[in-house]
Symmetry: C2
Subunit: 191 residues, 2 copies
């Protein structure tokens, strides 16, 4: 029980630090200090910082709101808008300083860690799968053009969004999100 | 003369290391070792690693092909395609492992370094300015819809591209670029 608690604290501190500072800018000692646990306890739970990153990514998953995306009480396209609006609320709360952990680690670690890269690919596929279901639903209702390949459009949305998020970190503003909404919902997806 | 040479070597090594490993994953000693110059010489040329990053970004600028973009011997939209094709050639050469330095540092350093963030904003504005001129030209020729705001579309292209590049690092494939071309040139920009 006590052990599980330490593990939880490490994942919480790891998420906070990787998200605010990046992976390579903090060491195991920074993480155990932030978690207020002894440094030695780290290795009882994780073989390496890299293994912690995988657990952090799984925790981060819950911020992505993919469950709400399958709630059919709202029509598909407004539901998709709500998903991105949910993300914007988080970035505003974070004052545009954190970005998306998936994009950050993708940029920082893809070459350094094959394990993290594989995990990022899994999260990307999961996100695109969930969004593609909604786009398929929109297509069947005639809300978007029949020419859409839901998987392809979902992947485009993911990438365009990740780029907008990085730009919101650089410009410290919501402008890239407004730009994303205008182009995506007025041109790429009309609904 | 000898001094300028050392500075050049540091910028070359810095670009190589920041681009392949990231900023926080390498230290000044890694850079001076890669440049084959004495460690102490670093501080004759740069006050800090952060200052080197600014010089590296200026050097990186030449890879972006913005001059060729203003060569009017090709019509505007094909010229824009050529720009992205030029980038794809680089990413293929790099085996999708490096990504774009602007996106990488935007993700990694926006919170850590206000100086780098400001420089990234400058490079982003410069890129969007150059692309907006081409889109304006396309608009005046009637190649794209009058409804386009060239600045807004240029910013969207920048962000969507940055996201595609990160995804190409994660998936180690050209698929995100094909996806980008299909959506951008068949839907966002029709020309």
């Amino acid at each position: 029980m006590a052990k599980a608690n330490v593990r939880e604290k490490l994942v919480t501190a790891g998420l906070e630090l990787f998200h605010t500072k990046g992976y390579n800018a903090c060491g195991v000692l920074d993480i155990t200090n932030a978690a207020r646990v002894p440094k030695g306890s780290f290795y009882n739970h994780f073989k390496s910082k890299e293994m912690l990153a995988l657990a952090v990514l799984d925790r981060y998953q819950s911020l992505l709101g993919l469950d709400a995306l399958q709630d059919k009480s709202e029509p598909p396209i407004p539901r998709l808008r709500s998903l991105f609006e949910r993300y914007i609320t988080l970035h505003v709360k974070w004052q545009f300083a954190r970005g998306c952990l998936l994009g950050n680690l993708g940029a920082e670690l893809s070459s350094q860690s094959p394990l993290v890269r594989k995990a990022l690919k899994k999260h990307f596929d999961r996100w695109c799968g969930a969004v593609a279901i909604v786009l398929q639903e929109a297509k069947e209702r005639g809300d978007i053009a029949k020419s859409h390949d839901p998987q392809e459009t979902a992947r485009f949305l993911y990438n365009a969004w990740q780029g907008a998020v990085i730009n919101s970190k650089v410009t410290r503003s919501q402008a890239p999100f407004k730009n994303f909404f205008a182009v995506i919902f007025d041109s790429v997806i009309k609904g």
